[in-house]
């Protein structure tokens, strides 16, 4: 199967570069479908209990490459396949609005295909060296996907920022793998377990931290999140969708895999993950609210959701450490379900943002407004996804957050660190409230009211081919929200792996609660439907249409509307200590003032402290050597000559010194 997978990937890459530019998208779709079917086939079997295992001969370099698919990988494979497929279906339509050279198109689609293949590889491969290769391919292809509009300087900058940060992640992973390899002599993932058992608790914890930072950069845990808010707005919308939906989940997968391989320290790791995640979740959403760029806003929300997933993982790990089956089940199941949920609603949000961008050619929220009339379906999808991301019933986000809440509440009762856990509960509640503030702002300002800016071209809804993948995603969002009990039983096997025993207790309790939730959710939907019908029946038909109430001011003026900035103004004042606010304001001068501009920008304080400041200093230091780069070829040849001379001379001199010392000693 692995060989077939590689061959099909290569074949489709070749095909993409050969066919007519208009057909490249079709071929890419076909390629994704073929690869997805192959991996999904194995994954479904793995989820129902038949784990897949194979050993490939990787030659003298890699040794035996273990290809194993347990139920955790299988879950991630299925999430990836669905999101990737929807991504390419949407992306093909999205790129119609962005004509590019044939070579760029080929590059883009090939990278997409390779990225999917690399992700599949990451979930299948359990050999450190091969895993790193797949990881590197994933990072580089993602970079190429991000810089699709490479003619723009900021896109390129964001891309390179991402490339550098993902390589820091790779360096840390490599370090961890070398560490394990030098002490065990094996590249197999199981070696991590053997090492941890032999090396003792402290060393194992240190190893965990190295890996956690490595994977954490990919996932976007604070303070390693700084690449996300730059890369997402720069990338085309479908790429932002898959990056936020599943690429960063590769980091989550890495941490989960690690937790599975770590035999000890569950409590310490659990509390550590919980603490980092609480900060991540809060920090992400706090900064999301003040963003003016819709895709940047969504990027910060990805950080928030990684925090929520992390809280689930943390509580699950603590549950394993305490031996509490329900806590472990609720935590891990919540985290893994949220991986799927976030992939769904976040990609849907990015696709909707993409439709808006294609219509308005701007991402600045304050220039939008009233789009629900021109793009009713996009608006509906954005609304569904917004409700889901806020964790409101009857949508999917609620289900996973509820599971995590259940885990936290049972942890409060059964552990001796209730005062720590309650902070996580507060954080989760605050995150929910803040997300509500953020998405009422986003939806309200983008789609409701009237246009805040004059649009020159007519704004039209996207065609059905674009809306189709969005509709499928939306349907799945609602489906999970209404029938969560189905997904709990699917998640049983992955979670059992963590607990290292067949778990009936946690699963039974959770399934019971989910059954109840499902009833409650249906009740809510039914209640809304009944009341809506009642309204139709009772409410008077006598309807008058008039202008919005304006306190006796009856002229329409879109300028009078609330903007995104004014909507969050009082909030921005409260969080002032956490951000760097740059405000520029024109003064009113003269009797007839000129048009005035005022600009407010919010900057990430952590980014300026942890990335910008060191970079600036490093550049200042390295700038002293700038004279070396003077651009004339003669000097470069000279450097080459000097280098060769030194490399010859240094050993000679050392030898001479040694001989001298030898002679002197004999004297």
């Amino acid at each position: 199967m692995s060989v077939a997978f590689l061959i099909s990937t290569l074949l489709f890459i070749l095909l993409i570069s050969l066919v007519h530019p208009g057909k490249k998208g079709m071929v890419a779709v076909a390629g994704i479908i073929v690869n997805s079917v192959m991996s999904s086939w194995i994954a479904v079997a793995a989820l129902s209990g038949n784990a897949f295992s194979q050993v490939l001969n990787g030659g003298p370099v890699f040794g035996d490459i273990a290809i194993r698919l347990d139920s955790i990988s299988a879950w991630f494979i299925l999430v990836t396949n669905f999101t990737m497929l929807m991504g390419i279906l949407y992306g093909r339509q999205y790129l119609r609005h962005h004509p590019a050279r044939s070579a760029d198109m080929s590059m883009h689609y090939i990278s997409y295909l390779l990225n999917h293949a690399a992700l599949t590889g990451i979930y299948f491969i359990q050999n450190m060296l091969a895993f790193l290769c797949a990881w590197e391919i994933m990072a580089i292809t993602a970079f190429i996907l991000v810089i699709f509009e490479h003619a723009r300087m900021e896109t390129l900058k964001a891309g390179i920022n991402y490339l550098i940060q993902s390589h820091i992640s790779i360096i840390l992973l490599t370090l961890g793998f070398i560490w394990v390899y030098t002490s065990t002599g094996s590249f197999d993932f199981e070696a991590i377990r053997t090492y941890c058992l032999s090396a003792g608790k402290e060393a194992a914890l240190l190893l965990f931290l190295v890996f956690f930072v490595g994977f954490g950069i990919k996932a976007g845990f604070v303070p390693f999140h700084t690449w996300l808010p730059h890369a997402h707005p720069a990338a085309p919308s479908h790429v932002s969708g898959i990056m936020s939906g599943i690429l960063i989940k590769a980091g989550i997968y890495g941490i989960l895999r690690l937790l599975l391989l770590m035999p000890e320290n569950h409590l310490a790791m659990g509390y550590f993950i919980l603490a980092v995640s609480v900060i991540t979740g809060l920090y992400g959403v706090i900064l999301a609210i003040v963003q003016h760029n819709i895709k940047k806003l969504l990027a910060y929300h990805s950080i928030e959701n990684i925090g929520i997933i992390g809280i689930g993982m943390g509580i699950g790990t603590i549950g394993v450490g305490l031996g509490s089956p329900f806590m472990a089940f609720a935590g891990y199941a919540g985290a893994m379900l949220h991986v799927l949920n976030h992939a769904l609603f976040k990609s849907l949000l990015f696709y909707s943002a993409g439709n808006v961008y294609n219509a308005l050619h701007t991402l600045v929220i304050d220039r939008m407004g009233g789009l629900i009339r021109n793009m009713p379906r996009t608006a509906l999808f954005f609304l569904i996804a917004s409700l889901a991301i806020c964790g409101l019933p009857p949508f999917n986000g609620f289900i996973s957050e509820f599971l995590i809440y259940s885990g936290l509440l049972s942890a409060i009762g059964s552990s001796h660190t209730a005062s720590v856990i309650i902070l996580a509960v507060i954080a989760l509640a605050l995150i929910g409230g803040l997300a509500l503030l953020c998405f009422t702002k986003a939806f309200g300002i983008i789609f409701l009211g009237t246009a805040r800016h004059v649009q020159h071209a007519e704004i039209r809804e996207e065609n059905n081919a674009t809306l189709f993948p969005m509709a499928l995603t939306a349907i799945l969002i609602i489906f999970i929200g209404l029938l969560p009990q189905l997904f709990i039983s699917v998640l049983r096997r992955p979670v059992e792996l963590f607990m290292n025993m067949p778990d009936l207790e946690g699963m039974r309790v959770s399934a019971q609660i989910m059954q109840q939730i499902s009833i409650a959710v249906w009740g809510l939907v039914l209640l809304i439907a009944i009341l809506w019908l009642l309204r139709k029946a009772i409410a008077s038909r006598q309807v008058t249409v008039g202008p919005t109430w304006g306190c006796a001011y009856t002229t329409d003026s879109p300028k009078l509307q609330y903007t995104a900035s004014s909507f969050v103004r009082s909030y921005a004042k409260i969080i002032k200590p956490l951000t760097i606010t740059k405000k520029s304001k024109d003064e009113v001068l003269g009797i007839i003032p000129k048009p005035l501009h005022t600009e407010t920008h919010f900057h990430d304080k952590l980014e300026s402290g942890l990335v910008d400041w060191p970079t600036r200093n490093l550049r200042g230091f390295l700038g002293r050597f700038k004279f070396l780069q003077n651009g004339s070829v003669q000097f470069y040849v000279l450097y080459g000559v000097v280098f060769i001379a030194i490399s010859i001379a240094v050993p000679l001199i050392i030898n001479a010194v040694r001989n001298l010392a030898h002679i002197l000693k004999h004297l």
Binding site: G369, I372, L383, L387, C390, L392, P393, E401, F402, Y405, S406, L409, I412, G413, H416, T417, A418, S419, I422, V425, I426, A429, L430, G432, G433, L436, G444, I445, L448, G449, T450, Q512, I517, A520, G523, L524, I528, L531, R535, I538, A539, S540, Q542, V543, V545, G546, P547, T548, W549, G550, P558, L560, Q561, Y562, S566, F567, V568, S570, K573, I574
Partner: protein, 304 residues
């Protein structure tokens, strides 16, 4: 029997605002309207025609229905003594809070739907204050679930009582915080003044400026329901050990009456805060609920 709390809350909701208004009129020496007057106003609203702004979309028409549906849904979770609500499961108070948030989400976007400068103002404040108030509720419920070891409303309330006198103290403190939460959620004094006539200083009232007819009636009734719901929650702190119905039902109505009168008294004798003092005021209740949590930690000996 599971319907009993729903029925009692519905009955209370018919009188609640009437009692508040009556209290205010007595205290200010006016004759004032009858207790049923607010309900009559609502019924009239439900029957008259509506005016819609031409900027609004279907969101605006859907929102009041969703709002009232979420409140009714939340009421289904409220227990009555040791009698379960219509729906009850472990962690149901999370569902309770998130359902109410759904209604709030719709009300906020509905007010943005009008494209009005005033309503955006109200929406912004509503979103901010409801965000700030959320943690207090979760801390209280979290503390009680730590104290009792249960995670559903009915189990918490029936296990919480009669442990020791300290639990009564905690219960009273929690009842106080719940009362304040109800005031904030319903946008009453001292956070918001429902009777103010300046849009710039309103929260809830300014959000519904453009609603009329049936929708306005629903929203107004929603306020009554919410008050009765929080009143019922508070009443659950004061039941007798045996839960005999001939004590429980008078206690329920007594608490509701006391709550309504208190709201009336507060509104008669206090002034509204300045808007920028509201966040501090709301956060103060988060710290009071943290006090409850600390008390519970001391009781259970789980303080590290």
């Amino acid at each position: 029997m599971r319907m009993i709390s729903l029925l009692l809350i519905l009955i209370t909701s018919f009188f609640f605002t009437g009692i508040i208004i009556r209290t205010k009129s007595i205290l200010s020496g006016r004759k004032g309207p009858g207790i049923m007057q607010p309900m009559k106003d609502i019924i009239r609203s439900l029957r008259i025609g509506s005016v819609y702004s031409k900027t609004t979309s279907f969101i605006f028409q859907l929102a009041p229905t969703v709002y009232i549906a979420t409140i009714l849904m939340a009421i289904l979770f409220i227990p009555f003594g040791n009698q379960r609500g219509v729906l009850s499961f472990n962690g149901d108070f999370v569902f309770f809070a998130y359902t109410l948030a759904l209604g709030k989400f719709f009300m906020i976007i509905a007010s943005l739907d009008t494209g009005s400068s005033f309503e955006g103002m109200g929406a912004s404040r509503e979103a901010l204050y409801s965000m700030l108030v959320e943690p207090a509720f979760f801390i209280i419920m979290g503390s009680f679930s730590l104290l009792t070891g249960f995670t559903s409303f009915v189990d918490i309330f029936s296990a919480m009582h009669f442990g020791s006198y300290v639990t009564y103290g905690l219960g009273a403190l929690a009842a106080f915080v719940f009362a304040i939460i109800a005031l904030i959620e319903n946008s009453r004094m001292p956070v918001d003044d429902p009777k103010t006539h300046l849009e710039l200083t309103m929260i809830h009232e300014v959000m519904i400026l453009d609603n009329s007819g049936y929708d306005l009636g629903l929203i107004l009734y929603g306020t009554n329901l919410k008050f009765a719901m929080y009143g019922a929650l508070i009443a659950n702190f004061f039941h007798t050990p045996g839960y005999e119905w001939y004590y429980s039902i008078p206690i329920f109505f007594g608490v509701q009456l006391a709550f309504a009168v208190t709201v009336g008294v507060v509104e008669s004798f206090s002034a509204r805060f300045r808007m920028n003092h509201n966040p501090q005021f709301i956060l103060m209740f988060t710290s009071i609920s943290l006090l409850i949590f600390l008390g519970v930690l001391l009781l259970t000996g789980k303080i590290i």
